[in-house]
Amino acid sequence: MARRAIWSGSISFGLVNIPIKMYTATREHEIRFNMLHDQDRARLRRKLVSESTGKEVHPEHIIKGYEFAKNQYVVVQKEELESCAPEKSKAIEITDFVNLAEIGPIYYEKPYYLAPQSAPAGKPYRLLVEAMNKSQKVGIAKMVMHEKEHLVALRPLGDALCLEMMKFADEVVGLDEIDGIPTDVKVGERELKAAIQLVESLSTKFDPEKYHDEYRDCVMKLIHRKAKGEEIHIAPAADKKVGRATDLMAALEASLAQAKSGASSSAANGQGRRRRKSA
């Protein structure tokens, strides 16, 4: 099934310009619950309400304000925001090419696919993919989307271009802010060897298909069963179990008492009754 583009713009590097469409490359599989009223299961909706009048305010009357001091707002219009990045608003301008391996995974935020907007854009698109494949480099660019500037990496993925949304350096927390990471603890050579051996014994090829969100699967199964009208009981009938256990213990106690009175000597000399019921 063809997916719908979420954004369109163009990549530029040097004199080349490639009009592209952008598609999400991942999908959320989180289970979303709706809020219902426990009395009649009616769907509940959020409303935006004015703090001064208590009345609902509709979207066309909503503007943005920045709280620069307690309860003091600077109002900013959409056009004013756009003025901060007038020409960037639709461009992905590649400024640098770097080695892919140099980018630490911590910088990656979310991947997208890019596709050429039209057939004529196919050629420069292909050119960029092949050039990056051959040179083993990825492009670093900035773009503006949803009123935010993003640092992105453009990398080839087979025949396609993949856009990786990235964190800016100041968005990544430094390790110096984390206490307790051991750096001067000595480990023995033999211990290390054994640990490496353990790592190697568990080593395998990374196979993403191997890993599933089992919690989600379980919740979805539960939902499907409930949707089919199956009653689901969580708590076992505790009382019944206790009753049975008590009977069982009474019987075991009786057996032990009998063994003690009747055959107390057999335990001491080990000549227990041999009642083998071998098959």
């Binding site: 014994s201 568990l202 069982l248 057996s255 057999s266 335990a267 080990g270 019921k277 071998s278 098959a279």
Partner: protein
């Protein structure tokens, strides 16, 4: 693959791969070859017991231990650098296992594709695992694909110092007699450590739910009967001077040390089946040491006594319906 292992003459001149001083070699079981390595590596420093000694022990015991391993999902406790060094439990059969090693899958809460246990069906697998420094063999209580059905019920009697094996014997007899009141027979083996394992062969349709609640009731009755000597709760700090009757191993997911498995203790002791008479004698003479069996003794013992634990595989008993 019943025939004894023979050695590839290309790899070595000596017909015995083990105990001849060679550090590595290839051993053949029919058409299957197993590479053995680091045979001179000392796994038990106090006893000077090497990996070669261990492989020789397991192969020497093959006729006796294999029936207890066959069809059972196996967890190994591996000591790559010996009993006094780092060890790890291994449930999943390593991905590099030879294709002739049988595996068996079970669902796992942690792994989407389930766990793939190794199953020891023949000598070659036994040798291969021993060569990986798998000292201890722990098996599930179920056999074959039906992992919800145990073939026996087990009690692990574990003495908390200053309680000893002698206390375990006392409680073991009490347990045995309680069961014999229902016409159900028990067998015993040493843990290979300080304790005693009591087995109740079943080999009839039963579930872990049933054996576990039954075993728990047994443990609680033993505790109630003699609270100064017996504890049925897991908590370690309750065990001082008492025998912990561990009933909780009667569980689909838990393993128990297989009979004839070596234990990774200071010396190469073995979880060894013992008769009730032997237990009574040890108790009478207050000689718990008579119940410590090391690998070489066990090899001699089975020659003389055969497999005292054979009934665990064959005897059909039903849990009393209470």
């Amino acid at each position: 693959m019943g025939s004894a292992g023979t050695v590839s003459t290309k790899a070595r001149k000596d017909p015995s791969p083990l105990g001849s001083g060679a550090n590595a070699g290839v051993i053949r079981f029919g058409s299957t070859t197993v590479k053995l390595s680091n045979l001179n590596k000392v796994l038990y420093p106090t006893a000077g017991f090497t990996k070669g000694d261990m492989i020789a022990y397991y192969l020497g015991m093959a006729d006796f231990i294999l029936p207890h391993l066959k069809g059972r999902k196996l967890t190994r406790k591996r000591y790559p650098d010996g009993v006094d060094k780092l060890f790890f439990f291994e449930k999943n059969c390593p991905s590099y296992h030879p294709e002739w090693v049988a595996t068996s899958r079970v669902d796992s809460a942690k792994r989407e594709n389930g766990l793939h246990y190794c199953v020891v069906e023949n000598k070659a697998t036994l040798a291969w695992l021993a060569n990986l420094a798998a000292i201890e063999f722990h098996t599930l209580l179920s056999k074959g694909e039906d992992v919800t059905r145990p073939t026996y019920m087990v009690f692990d009697l574990d003495p908390g110092a200053p309680a000893t094996m002698l206390d375990c014997i006392r409680i073991g007899f009490r347990l045995k007699e309680m069961m014999s009141g229902f016409g159900v027979e028990c067998l015993a083996k040493t843990s290979g450590g300080k304790g005693l394992h009591i087995y109740v062969p079943l080999n009839t349709p039963v579930t872990f739910d049933q054996t576990k609640s039954f075993a728990h009731a047994v443990a609680r009755v033993l505790e109630k009967d003699d609270p100064k000597s017996v504890v049925s709760a897991m908590k370690k700090n309750l065990r001082d001077g008492k025998v912990f009757v561990d009933w909780s191993q009667n569980d689909e997911h838990k393993t128990t040390c297989c009979v004839y498995s070596l234990r990774a203790r200071e010396r190469p002791t073995v979880s060894t089946p013992v008769t009730w008479d032997e237990l009574a004698n040890a108790a009478k003479k207050k000689n718990a040491d008579a119940l410590i069996f090391e690998a070489p003794n066990v090899l001699k013992r089975v020659e003389k006594l055969g497999d005292l634990f054979a009934p665990v595989l064959k005897m059909k008993q039903k849990l009393p319906a209470l």
